[in-house]
Every structure is written in structure tokens, then in C-alpha cells.
């Protein structure tokens, strides 16, 4: 009697141990990624890296540090026209030769490093699984691989190499479901600093361009409603409005969806052309699919496989019966 009791207790303990151990193993990649974002936010460093997509190479330099308690970072695109992104605490300034410089209130810059890696990685844990991979030499350092795979197919996965010593991101590959590399970010060198460089100090002292006020949200009830019939599970509507495209001045109905890691845009635009056609453009992981159907052009843009963008675009439809109960009481 006592023996069986003993056995079951020991057995239960063993099971508990294995479960907690397994849980610990599950947490490991997430902790590693959390460590990465801590490193990006807390250290002072200069990182040189190369982005590789669609046969193009984009060298970049990221500098980060603290001057008098202010967090300063500067991302510079080293090839082609001048493009710089500067962040001073909660203000991000975009300095590009193609348009006038402007600043926005934002916590992170919209750069080559996926934002969850600079912020909170748990934001994406709902829609992506983290699996520990092997160790290998990357950028002259020992790196630990973490696979980030979407829980639902129809979108790209990520392979992320993290520096074992410092925790920094050393390499990130965007991979298709077939395992092909779609886009790549490779760190070339990391230099940690004790003191902020002169360059960062001069940025801290300089005046950034004026902050652009957020465009006011228009009352979405005034808009024609559009529905997206299908999209990969896990995406949520994060923004919806009507605005003008800067280049063509067309007014478009707009929706943005996010799954925590990637975002895609849906544009609905009235066009004169009646001819039905579809067009597809890809640039690295970014896909744009556009189709014209009975005078309406529907465009989907996002870092997703082209088939997914096409499938989303093909299922966009207008909500025919629109409730107009809001306008009536006002009129009467």
C-alpha cells in the first residue's frame, strides 16, 4: 500500500520535473530574443550591417547610445541617395533626399531590424513559434540560431542568429515555406562603446525637424465599408481611413492589418480603366499585388508571399448594405 503510494508520488514528481524542464526549454528561445532587444536598447554601440534582397545589397550603419540620459540612435543607409533615420527618445526623424525631412512620435524607428527585436518580443509570440537551433560562426562570433515560424502558413518565417556573448542580432533571414531565403540581414561588425561617440553627442545637441502631427482619424462611418474575405489567421485590423497617395494624389480607402511581426496594407481606389487585369511586384520579402475589377483597383502590399497577397486582394468586397442610422437623427 505504502509502496504504491510512494511510487505514484515519485512518478508524479518525475512528470512534474519533465514538464517544468520542457517548459524551461520552450522559454529559452524567447528569453534569448528578449535578451537581444535588451541589448539593442541598453547598450551603446555601432553596428555595421548589410541587407540583401532581390539581388540588391544595402549597407547600413546603426549607432546607439545615451547622452545626458537621452536615448539617441542613428541609422544610416550608406549607398545611393541620402537616407537617415534619427531617434531621440520618443521622436523619430526621417531624413531623405526624396522628400522634406519630418519627425514622428514613435518608440522605435522603422528600420531594417524587425521592431519586436527592439521592443517586446512577446508581442509576436501569439502568432509565431520560437524554436532553438544550433550554434554557428556568424560575423566572426559564435551565434545561437532561433527559428521563428508562423503558426499559420501563408507567411514568411525568420531565422535569427543571436550573439552568444552580447546577445545582439548577427543575422536574420526571411525564409519562404520551402526554405528559400527571401531576404537577408547580415551584421558585419559590432563595436560596443563605454561613452557615447562625438557623433551621437552632436546629434543630441542638434535640432531635429518639426514633429508632424498625426493625421486626424476621419470618422470611419462616413466611408464605404470594405471587407476582406480571407487573410491568414492572426491578422487584426489596426488602422482604417481614407487618404491621398502622395505620388498620384488619388484618394484611396485604406486598411492596415498586423499580426505582431508583419503588417499589410489594403488600398481600394476607383480607376477609369475598365479592363480587368492583375499585376504583381516583389522586392525581397515585400509583395505588391494589384487587380482591377469593374472600375475598382484593389492593391495589397506587405512583406508576405505573393500568393498570399493575391489571395487577400481577390477576396476584398464592398459591404453593400451600409447602415446609415448615424446621419438620420442629425438630419431630423
Amino acid at each position: 500500500m505504502t509502496r504504491t503510494l510512494f511510487r505514484s508520488v515519485v512518478g508524479g514528481l518525475l512528470i512534474l520535473l519533465t514538464i517544468s524542464h520542457a517548459k524551461g526549454a520552450d522559454k529559452a528561445p524567447e528569453l534569448l530574443l528578449q535578451r537581444m532587444s535588451d541589448a539593442f536598447r541598453q547598450e551603446s554601440y555601432v553596428i555595421s550591417m548589410v541587407q540583401n534582397f532581390g539581388g540588391r545589397i544595402e549597407p547600413l550603419r546603426l549607432e546607439h547610445g545615451f547622452v545626458d540620459g537621452h536615448e539617441i540612435s542613428h541609422l544610416s543607409y550608406l549607398n545611393g541617395p541620402l537616407r537617415d533615420i534619427v531617434r531621440k527618445d520618443g521622436t523619430v526623424s526621417y531624413l531623405e533626399s526624396e522628400r522634406p525631412a519630418y519627425s514622428l512620435k514613435a518608440r522605435q524607428m522603422d528600420g531594417p531590424i524587425p521592431k519586436p527585436f527592439l521592443g517586446d518580443i512577446s508581442a509576436i509570440s501569439e502568432n509565431y513559434r520560437f524554436v532553438m537551433g544550433g550554434k554557428s560562426r556568424t560575423a566572426g562570433r559564435i551565434a545561437q540560431l532561433v527559428r521563428i515560424t508562423p503558426t499559420e502558413p501563408d507567411r514568411y518565417g525568420l531565422l535569427v542568429w543571436s550573439d552568444v556573448e552580447t546577445g545582439f542580432l548577427l543575422r536574420a533571414d526571411v525564409i519562404s515555406r520551402e526554405g528559400d531565403i527571401v531576404e537577408q540581414l547580415q551584421v558585419v561588425s559590432i563595436r560596443l562603446m563605454d561613452e557615447p561617440s562625438e557623433h551621437l553627442q552632436s546629434i543630441a545637441a542638434s535640432q531635429l525637424p518639426q514633429t508632424v502631427p498625426q493625421p486626424e482619424r476621419r470618422d470611419t462611418e462616413d466611408l464605404v465599408e470594405w471587407n476582406v474575405g480571407w487573410m491568414p489567421a492572426g491578422f487584426e485590423l489596426v488602422n482604417q481611413d481614407q487618404h491621398r497617395l502622395a505620388l498620384t494624389n488619388d484618394v484611396v480607402d485604406y486598411m492596415m492589418f498586423s499580426d505582431g511581426l508583419i503588417k499589410f496594407s489594403v488600398y481600394i481606389n476607383k480607376v477609369e480603366s475598365q479592363e480587368e487585369r492583375g499585376s504583381l511586384v516583389t522586392r525581397g520579402a515585400l509583395s505588391l499585388f494589384s487587380l482591377i475589377n469593374s472600375g475598382v483597383e484593389i492593391t495589397v502590399v506587405g512583406r508576405m508571399p505573393p500568393e498570399t497577397a493575391q489571395r487577400i486582394a481577390e477576396t476584398v468586397y464592398p459591404v453593400v448594405e451600409k447602415p446609415r442610422n448615424k446621419g438620420l437623427p442629425n438630419a431630423g
Binding site: H74, S76, P81, L82, D84, V86, V92, L95, E96, S97, P100, A101, A106, R107, D110, P112, I113, P114, K115, P116, L118, G119, D120, A123, A172, V174, H199, I203, S206, L208, P209, Q214, P215, V238, N239, H243, L245, A246, L247, T248, D250, M256, S258, D259, G260, L261, I262, K263, S265, S279, V281, R283, A285, L286, L288, S290, E297, T299, G302, R303
Partner: protein
């Protein structure tokens, strides 16, 4: 035809030409003074866009370089070492001070982009290449101007097609640009709902 050559030149300069530049093209460039001045003008525009303008703008750079080369070839070397610290200091601070120049550069850039786009079109092959290649060989303006209108007439449809493709490219660029813009705008909006839950950053895209 001249406009076509200019586009070709522009694309070539930006390393964006689809086809490698032919020997005939180089010969044409060497013989054609108008094209040469266009070339140097393009280079000047490029320098201006990249913010690499010398303190004193010397339009007739080629003759000066030729003179310098004749006198002393090593003159070029000190000039290069001098420009190095300038390149390093060309960071944000100077950027911030030069913001006003961006607007001017932007208009030029827009023109350049259009030119390249037109050149890069697949419809390029519709323009009869024999006319192009014979231009430098004959070296006379008359046959070219004679050939040009007929080519246009024949290719009226091709031109319309080209315009359609251009229009589409412009729209695609508009969408790509706007998507990027919307992504940048997003975090602020995402911050409001995020406050209640936790400090989570609303997920964002990689680039």
C-alpha cells in the same frame, strides 16, 4: 531620338541601364559635343543630389582636369585625401543644416527617376534599334531627324503602351511609398490601445 539618347545616358550614369552600353554609344558620346555637355551636366546634378558639390562650382571641369593632367598628374591625389574627412563629417548634423537643399534635390531626383523608368521599360525593344545604331555611324543629323517621325508613326501604339506601363509603374511606386509611410505612422496609433495591456510594441514590419 536625342531625348532617347539622354535617357540612355542618364540610365547608364546611374548604373541602371538594362543593357550594357555599346561601343557605338561610347563612340557617339565621344563625337557628340552636345551629348558630352549633357553628360557633364548630369554628373553635376548627381553631385548636387548627393551633396558632394565642391565649394566652388566649376562647370568646365573636364578642361580643368585636362590642364591639371598635363601639368602634373599627381594633383589629383591630394585632392582625394582632402575630400576624405569631408565625407566622414557628412553625417546627420550637416544633414540637418542642409534640410532646405533637399526640396531642390527632390525635384531633380523625381525627373531622374521618371527618365530611368521610361528607359527601363520592356517596350524599349519596340523602338527600332537599327536607327539607333546607325546614328553614330553616319554621324549626320539629317537621317536621324528623318527617321524619327516615321518611327513614331509606326510605333504610335507602342508609345501608348509605354505610357500605360509608365502610368502603372507610377501607381505601384505610389502604393509602395504610401505603405512605408503608413507603417511609420502606425506605432503612435498603436500606442494608445497598448497602454492598457502592457508595454507591448504593436508589432511592426521588418523594414
Amino acid at each position: 531620338m536625342a531625348a532617347d539618347n539622354q535617357q540612355r545616358l542618364s540610365a547608364w550614369m546611374d548604373n541602371q541601364a538594362d543593357e550594357t552600353i555599346s561601343d557605338e554609344m561610347i563612340d557617339a558620346l565621344l563625337e557628340d559635343e552636345a551629348l558630352q555637355s549633357t553628360y557633364s551636366r548630369y554628373q553635376l546634378i548627381g553631385d548636387a543630389i548627393r551633396g558632394e558639390m565642391p565649394p566652388v562650382v566649376d562647370i568646365d571641369l573636364t578642361s580643368r582636369i585636362a590642364d591639371a593632367l598635363e601639368q602634373e598628374p599627381t594633383v589629383l591625389a591630394p585632392a582625394q585625401t582632402e575630400s576624405k574627412p569631408a565625407a566622414e563629417s557628412g553625417k546627420v548634423v550637416s544633414l540637418l543644416k542642409q534640410l532646405g537643399q533637399y526640396a531642390i534635390a527632390a525635384t531633380v531626383a523625381a525627373v531622374a527617376v521618371l527618365g530611368v523608368q521610361q528607359y527601363n521599360q520592356p517596350g524599349e525593344s519596340e523602338i527600332p534599334t537599327p536607327v539607333l545604331t546607325t546614328t553614330p555611324l553616319t554621324g549626320v543629323a539629317a537621317p536621324v531627324s528623318l527617321a524619327a517621325p516615321t518611327a513614331e508613326q509606326v510605333n504610335d501604339e507602342a508609345v501608348a503602351q509605354q505610357q500605360r506601363i509608365m502610368e502603372q509603374r507610377k501607381r505601384i511606386n505610389a502604393y509602395l511609398q504610401d505603405h512605408e509611410q503608413q507603417r511609420r505612422l502606425q506605432p503612435v496609433e498603436a500606442e494608445q490601445p497598448a497602454v492598457e495591456e502592457s508595454d507591448t510594441l504593436e508589432g511592426t514590419e521588418e523594414r
